[in-house]
């Protein structure tokens, strides 16, 4: 079942690549079919998921490279469940709904589709992996399709941005790889068996404190780059700006989550003590990221760059939540990963639509689009409000949980982080004003509104924004047990007296 989620897209990718050149357009629809099938599968997983169980479900554990103690160990729990579903649904949507950019002559639908599918496989693999080796393999391999997508179908100086993206991330992974290998081999020295199995390694806890801290740092280096955590974020605006729309959506929606997910699943899970030790650092960086990225975002002349910086700020919230170590904050962080994927996805989609029509993303050259494209404006507004954290939309749920949870352990930082709420409104509304308000002139006045095809992509995502804002219970109920287990692990080593089920300060007195 879970294996199929990973393998199916690969098979379809191969099939797509083998389509003869003259049927290239058909390849795209074959790819969409594949992605849709995966999406359906992910929904099946969602349906079959046992709500109350905080452990790993639907586990697949087969030997892969027994010589290295590597096993094909997949499983899903509340933390990964919605990321998987998000991935499963986002891919068919963007593949079907977003016309690949690039001039007609250069564009090869087969390559594009195949890369997308491989990207999907990698992302799903990373979210499902319970084996450090498998995770790393997936974590690293996604760079390749993304590199080609940005480089091959991007805008402007896309090859440079793609290279920057690749190398920056790879530098982080370099440390991760050393860390993973070290964890496994140190465990082998202690217990005699070489294994990369997450659960086994986490349970054996054979590391000395200092070693654990160093290894956590190695892990954190990779995840901090991927997330990205301030000050390692500068690849992101470049990558987003030059990337084609679909890649941007996937990058923001899914790939950045590999970083935060990695922190949670591997960094915190394997090294609870070290995670605790370094939590102040990461929380600080997360909060700096929230404020700093927001301030920087206000002055971006490029709409896409602005949204990219907003991503940095949002991921700062997630990092804050994850490292505040309370049930609410971590749950909030997890659900915020999904929320950010959806709402920022919509924003990027719309920017892509604008670019497709106007061939520019420069805010100064746009204006009054609400007049010519009212539906687009409405869609943007909803996603913007979600991004700002307006209650009733999904963004609020995550942000609020993160903040209210973090408040009990990181009071002052939370108060600072909350100012991010003001700043988010400032830069997004200002951008909205400059792009959509005012009187349209020239090409802005004649810009066509959202087409039906584009609408079909936006509507499910917007529905998701609203539904998850009003009734997030089904999501939260599934996330919470897994998060509780994780938080309980940390609490054993936490300097804070935070009861796992969140008693109050009053009770503690």
């Amino acid at each position: 079942m879970l294996s199929a989620l990973v393998i199916l897209p690969v098979l379809f990718a191969v099939a797509v690549a083998l389509v003869p050149a003259r049927h290239a357009p058909a390849a795209r629809w074959l790819g969409v079919a594949g992605a849709t099938l995966v999406g359906v599968l992910s929904v099946v997983v969602l349906v079959r998921f046992d709500v109350g169980d905080g452990g790993f479900q639907m586990v697949v554990d087969r030997s892969w490279i027994s010589e290295l103690g590597v096993s094909w160990h997949l499983g899903i729990d509340g933390i990964s469940l919605f990321l998987v579903v998000l991935t499963g649904l986002l891919f068919p949507l963007v593949m079907a709904g977003v016309k690949p950019e690039g001039s007609a002559g250069q564009h090869d639908a087969r390559a594009y589709t195949a890369w997308m599918l491989l990207l999907e496989a990698g992302c799903l693999g990373a979210f499902l992996a319970l084996d450090l080796f498998v995770f790393f393999v997936m974590f690293e391999v996604v760079l390749v399709p993304m590199y080609f997508l940005i480089g091959g179908w991007g805008h402007g100086d896309s090859s440079k941005a793609a290279t920057k993206f690749f190398l920056f991330t790879m530098t982080g992974s370099a440390f991760l790889l050393v860390g993973i290998v070290a964890v496994a081999f140190l465990n082998q020295q202690a217990t005699g068996t070489l294994t990369f199995d997450l659960v086994t390694l986490a349970d054996s806890q054979s590391l000395a404190t200092t070693t654990g801290r160093w290894l956590f740092l190695a892990f954190a280096a990779a995840f901090a780059v991927k997330t990205p955590v301030f000050p390692l974020h500068t690849w992101l605006p470049d990558a987003h700006t030059q990337a084609p729309t679909a890649a941007s959506v996937i990058l923001a929606g899914v790939m950045l989550k590999l970083g935060t997910y990695g922190f949670l699943r591997f960094g915190i899970f394997l090294f609870p003590e070290a995670a605790n030790y370094f939590a102040p650092l990461l929380v600080t960086l997360g909060v700096i990221g929230i404020v700093y990225a927001a301030v920087v975002a206000t002055m971006q002349p490029d709409l896409k760059r602005l949204i990219a910086y907003s991503s940095v700020a949002h991921l700062g919230f997630i990092v804050l939540g994850l490292f505040a170590f309370t049930g609410q904050s971590v749950t909030g962080g997890v659900i915020q990963m999904v929320n950010h994927g959806v709402s920022t996805g919509v924003l990027f989609l719309i920017v892509g639509m604008i670019y497709e029509r106007r061939h520019t993303r420069e805010i100064a050259k746009l204006g009054g689009l609400q007049k010519s494209a009212p539906v687009m404006a409405v869609c943007f507004t909803i996603a913007m409000f979600s991004s700002i954290g307006l209650p009733g939309l999904n963004g609020f749920v995550g942000e609020f949980l993160v903040l209210i949870g973090s408040f009990s352990t990181r009071r002052w930082w939370t108060i600072v982080a909350t100012t991010g709420v003001i700043l988010a409104a400032l830069y997004l509304l200002w951008a909205y004003q400059r792009v959509f308000h005012g009187t349209p002139e020239g090409d802005n006045a004649t810009m066509p509104d959202v087409t039906r095809r584009e609408g079909l992509v936006l509507v499910p995502l917007l529905a998701c924004i609203v539904v998850m804002g009003i009734y997030p219970r089904p999501v939260l109920d599934r996330i919470e047990p897994a998060v509780d287990r994780l938080v309980a692990r940390i609490d054993d080593r936490s300097p804070y007296d935070v009861p796992a089920d969140g008693g109050t300060a009053e009770e503690q007195r």
Partner: protein
């Protein structure tokens, strides 16, 4: 009967959905009628609920309806549920009532706008949000409504988005409100952290309201002040008032509904709702009272010099809200709420009247080009005069009672603040008189050849009916809480209990105070009359420059200071941050890359292509290896 409560917000929500999906197809004026119907239905549901609530005895007038659990993680859990008690139902009634009237008015006012349906959709959404705000059974749901009304305010202020001023004003309103939201959220975090719940009534610990009695003074003060930050943002208190005058860029019904009658009173509601916390924090109460009084006076001075008819009303609103905060800070919740209700009536009336005048003059808002409209707009003029007398505090209009009550309570608590209030009352009477004189009396200045010939005529019935209704209410509204009878006070008794500061001054003193207030009002009117109806120049030009200093028109330059800060140092800071990001942080990245690359280029020299150099390299390597081996040994 009480179970109809869910209908109260549900009906406007239905309106939103219907208009969002079919608004365009319904067209004009059907969309407006649909919207109005839903809000009116909501009012009816409110009345039904109210009657149901009256059926309970006083101690049990607090009923919670939980629909479903909204967000629940660990110990944190909030529902979507409604708390029906005298406080919330009071708001529900006047919000839906005034709302329905303004909807009705808008049908005509928005005639011809190509986004007619959208306008009503937003209006309905606003009413829905406002109802959620007041009915929500927990702080988070209140916050949802709080933010919802903010968002609607944003959408409606910038409704005519092609106008830059409107777009900017909308943004400004939202962002300024967000500063308040920061306070709101932080207050929630603090409350949850200390009390473990955000639900007002019921749930663990018996609910927020009863549990908050266990708060320490420090925490309570912090929470109260944070909530006041929130309220100051929403209710335009100093220094966060700056958005409200600009918000007048929105259509006039919006100004009437949102920026006068309802939304801006949300801050009052919030503080009244959390009165147990306030009660524990007397020093916070002092802060609120002082800021309220200051705002009242400050805004009144600014109103004196405005030329835009709506700006006068906007500053007036700020000023009146200051009164309410003065009352809240003093502990006179009922007085504050009483004034909120009366203000809702007369300020809505004034706005709608102003709107009618603007409408008649094809959008003219400058009072210097109005005058003598009494003749051509009889209904509008009559209604506006009623509103003027009400706000000026002339008996027996409703404003007299509510303002008098506040002043009396404040006198009892702090005569200094009372004097500020009195001064404000004087100014209020003055500037409102000025407005009425400039618009409805004196010479007609609208037929300025530069602006073409105008033929103002009375607005259609759809616009005048609300004027008439509100005018009537503005006359008799004082009845709901007549001194001595205090219907409203008794109704709200269960909410505030002994935390309400009751008047203890003697009846004679009360009468004396009232007399002073009336005198002050009359003096204000007379001064205005002297300056604007007896001065030939002022009659001709519609202004009296010596008493309209530029500084006051710019509200003492506070708004300008904000703009200067954000446009100057703030902008520079952001630009610096962006430059820092580009040059330092990304520069470090690019620098590393280029250092690596340059090192590579430079090191090519060692690959000289010369065999003998290579051989030398081998020998050097051999030496190195021998050394390393020796050292290793």
């Amino acid at each position: 009967m009480l179970s109809a409560v869910w209908l109260i917000p549900a009906l406007p929500l239905c309106g939103v959905l219907v208009l969002a999906l079919f608004g365009r197809r319904l067209g004009e004026p059907l969309a407006g009628w649909v919207a109005t119907t839903f809000v009116a239905g909501s009012f009816v549901a409110g009345v039904v609920t109210w009657i149901g609530l009256l059926g309970h005895d006083e101690e049990h007038r607090q009923v919670v309806f939980r629909l479903f659990t909204w967000i629940s993680v660990g110990s944190f859990s909030v529902d979507v549920g409604f708390l029906v008690d005298p406080l919330s139902i009071t708001w529900v009634l006047f919000v839906t009532f005034v709302g329905a009237l303004i909807h009705l008015y808008s049908i005509s006012y928005m005639h011809g706008d190509d986004r007619f349906g959208t306008f009503f959709c937003y209006l309905n959404l606003f009413v829905f949000s406002m109802l959620v705000l007041v009915l929500g059974d927990n702080l988070v749901l209140t916050f949802l409504g709080w933010e919802g009304v903010g968002a609607c305010s944003y959408l409606l202020i910038s409704f005519w988005f092609q106008r830059d001023a409107a777009a900017t004003a909308g943004k400004k309103a939202f962002v300024t409100n967000r500063i308040g939201d920061w306070g709101f959220m932080t207050a929630m975090f603090l409350l949850f952290w200390t009390l473990g719940t955000l639900t007002y009534v019921g749930g663990s610990g018996g609910g927020l309201l009863s549990a908050s009695e266990t708060l320490t003074t420090g925490t309570a003060t912090a929470v109260a002040l944070l909530l006041f930050v929130a309220a100051a943002g929403k209710s335009a208190q100093f220094p966060l008032f700056v958005w409200l005058p600009d918000a007048m860029e929105g259509p006039t019904p919006v100004s009437a509904l949102i920026h006068a009658a309802t939304m801006v009173t949300a801050g009052i509601y919030l503080l009244a709702r959390l009165n147990p916390v306030l009660h524990l924090a007397p020093s916070a109460g002092d802060v609120i009272a002082v800021v309220g009084a200051f705002t009242a006076l400050f805004a009144a001075t600014a109103a004196v010099a405005q030329r835009d008819i709506k700006k006068v009303l906007a500053y007036s609103t700020v000023s009146q809200l200051g009164y309410m905060f003065l009352a809240i800070g003093t502990g006179a919740y009922v007085a504050a709420i009483f004034h909120t209700i009366t203000h809702a009536f007369f300020k809505a009336l004034l706005f709608l009247g102003a709107g009618s005048a603007i409408h008649a003059l094809d959008g003219e808002q400058d009072m210097r080009r109005m005058g003598a409209l009494r003749a051509v707009l009889p209904i509008t003029a009559t209604a506006s005069i009623i509103g003027w007398l009400a706000i000026a505090g002339v008996p027996p209009f409703e404003g007299f009672f509510s303002k008098d009550e506040i002043l009396a309570v404040v006198w009892q608590d702090n005569p200094g603040l009372w004097f500020v209030g009195l001064l404000t009352a004087l100014l209020t009477a003055y500037y409102m008189s000025r407005q009425v004189f400039l618009v409805f009396f004196g010479h007609a200045r609208w037929d300025d050849p530069a602006h073409g010939s105008r033929h103002p005529h009375e607005s259609p019935a759809l616009m005048t009916i609300p004027l008439i209704v509100l005018g009537g209410l503005s006359i008799v509204g004082g009845l709901i809480n007549l001194p001595g009878v205090e219907t409203l006070g008794h109704f709200l008794e269960p909410v505030f209990g002994e935390r309400e500061l009751h008047l203890t001054v003697s009846g004679a003193s009360q009468v004396a105070l009232a007399a002073v207030a009336v005198v002050v009002a009359v003096v204000g009117i007379l001064i205005a009359r002297r300056l604007y109806l007896r001065d030939p120049v002022a009659l001709e030009t519609g202004e009296h420059p010596s008493v309209e200093p530029e500084l006051l028109r710019r509200a003492w330059g506070v708004d300008g200071a904000f703009s200067a800060f954000f446009g100057g140092p703030g902008r520079r800071l952001a630009l610096a941050a962006a430059a820092f990001d580009r040059s330092v942080i990304d520069g470090a990245v690019r620098g590393t890359a280029s250092v690596v690359q340059r090192t590579g280029q430079r090191s090519r020299v060692i690959q000289s292509g010369l065999v003998r150099r290579y051989a030398l390299g081998i020998v050097v390597g051999a030496v190195v290896l021998m050394v390393v081996v020796a050292v290793g040994a």
